[in-house]
């Protein structure tokens, strides 16, 4: 219907965004009827999201015309932003930003580099940045989950951790069960994505490729490649993150730093 009403492609895109935004606002109004007030927060988030993604689109447009190293620079910037977001989730963990940055850079960076070297992903800015950003974003989510889960599990099992320390165990041994459980938990979304691929959801990348005329089978296989890369990058990120965070959770004298208030 919109296509007939708005023939100009740019205006059509804006109209489509307005309709989708209105649908989201309608949900907020429904929630309001049940005395759940998210309308202000949602309106701000919608405007902010539109502005951010439009800015990214504009930057991408510029980068497409620029040199290849601009893509690497953009990905590095995304990794720093992802580490800051991830660290906010785990702000009560000492050194969370440093750990997050190292983990995300190691996880997404290594997979992007390997896949680019192997020729799985194109090194052109137009492919490298969007695909790389997916890996960085998923690594960020997995890392945030891992750190948050690690902190909450260790705090919930303080007595076990300190009993192990009091028996002469190393910090690594004393928190090992919770480092393992946080690693496992943080990978659940990535595993579920792989498991349900094509059955529960058809991801955006594949949808976009099909819409832009790529044969569906080729789009599907490329989507699998992306999801597998996301899993690999999230896995390495969590592995590095949960390894580094174990060291951050203790003082040099091997005292647990994640204890809530003292005063017994």
């Amino acid at each position: 219907m919109l296509k007939e009403l708005v023939p100009d492609p740019l205006l059509l895109t804006l109209a489509q965004a307005a309709v989708a935004g209105a649908a989201a606002l309608a949900v907020a109004l429904l929630a309001r009827a049940r005395r759940i007030h998210v309308e202000k927060e949602l309106a701000i988030a919608l405007v902010r999201g539109l502005a951010q993604i439009s800015a990214v689109g504009s930057v991408l447009l510029l980068m497409l015309k620029g040199p290849g190293w601009l893509g690497a620079l953009a990905l590095a910037g995304m990794m720093v932003a992802a580490a800051a977001t991830s660290a906010r989730r785990a702000r009560r963990v000492p050194g969370a930003f440093k750990v997050s940055l190292q983990a995300i850079a190691a996880g997404s960076g290594s997979v992007i580099a390997l896949m680019a070297l192997a020729g799985v992903i194109d090194t052109g800015v137009a492919v490298l940045v969007p695909v790389g950003s997916m890996l960085v974003a998923n690594a960020m989510n997995a890392n945030g989950l891992a750190l948050d889960r690690f902190r909450s599990d260790v705090v919930a099992h303080l007595r076990e951790v300190e009993s192990a320390l009091a028996l002469g165990a190393s910090p690594e041994v004393s928190v090992a069960p919770w480092a393992q459980s946080s690693f496992r938990a943080s990978l659940i979304p990535a595993i579920d994505n792989l498991r349900s691929l094509g059955i529960v959801w058809i991801p955006g990348l594949m949808t976009g490729m099909v819409l832009s005329g790529t044969p569906p089978l080729r789009a599907a296989i490329y989507q699998f490649v992306t999801i597998a890369m996301i899993f690999a990058s999230s896995g390495v990120t969590c592995l590095v993150g949960t390894t580094l965070i174990r060291a951050q959770a203790f003082s040099p004298a091997e005292q647990l730093l994640l204890r809530p208030g003292e005063g017994r």
Partner: protein, 233 residues
């Protein structure tokens, strides 16, 4: 008259400030080999905070702890904690069997707790035949015994105990007190035990340190402290 036993554990002007609050303030004492020192005081007096400084689970912000005359900070933390064992107020046993819990400490330093030593230790704490029992099938009193045996399995020279009988009924309480006395005597351990009960302190310890608001209010032989605190018989 035999010479006094050597001082094994000494705290000198020990203090800890956390979040702007003095949890332990200028606490000094010493414990001789084979002696039991009871630390008594109301909730919030700083008893547990003091105990955690002795095996460096927390870092003192003032003063020092000496083990056999050596500054505890000069020892690697794991070595210090092996030599200064600790039984926490709530026995946090690791999932698995009693035997797995008892062998945890020795395993950390690459040693093994042999079947004979394991059986002897379990007999000593009144749990003969419990080696393969899952810790989820233990009563509260049995779990305390396992926690004590687990600390002792590490062959410490000092044993720190944080209210080892809290939340137990009177019968279990007396049994654990007798067990502590037996283990300390048989192994020649030096012991610091926290209790909020002066009567219990009199039953298990030779000396008592009374804490109040993080500071030492009184320290001395049991009878002397009981008399001064107005609870002596």
């Amino acid at each position: 008259m035999s010479p006094p036993a050597p001082v094994v554990l000494r705290a000198e002007h020990l203090g800890r400030v956390a979040d702007g609050r003095a949890l332990v303030d200028d606490v000094s004492f010493e414990v001789r080999q084979g002696d039991v020192l009871a630390v008594v005081g109301p909730s919030g007096a700083g008893k547990s905070s003091l105990l955690r400084l002795l095996n460096r689970l927390d870092e003192p912000t003032a003063g020092a702890v000496y083990l056999d005359g050596q500054d505890a900070r000069a020892l690697p933390p794991r070595e210090l904690r092996r030599r200064v064992g600790m039984v926490m107020q709530t026995p946090a046993l690791f999932p698995g069997t009693v035997a797995e819990n008892l062998s945890f400490g020795p395993r950390q330093r690459g040693a093994a707790l042999g079947d004979g030593a394991l059986a002897a230790l379990l007999r000593q704490v009144g749990l003969g035949g419990f080696a393969e029992r899952g810790v989820d099938r233990l009563s509260g009193g049995e779990a305390r015994r396992v926690a004590i045996a687990r600390a002792v399995a590490n062959e410490p020279s000092v044993l720190l105990m944080d209210e080892p009988t809290s939340a137990l009924d009177d019968v279990s309480k007396r049994e654990i007190e007798a067990l502590v006395a037996e283990v300390v005597r048989a192994r020649g351990l030096t012991c610091v035990v926290i209790t909020h009960d002066l009567a219990q302190a009199a039953r298990v310890a030779g000396r008592v340190l009374v804490m109040e608001a993080g500071r030492v209010r009184r320290i001395g032989p049991v009878e002397e402290v009981l008399r001064a605190e107005g609870t002596g018989s």
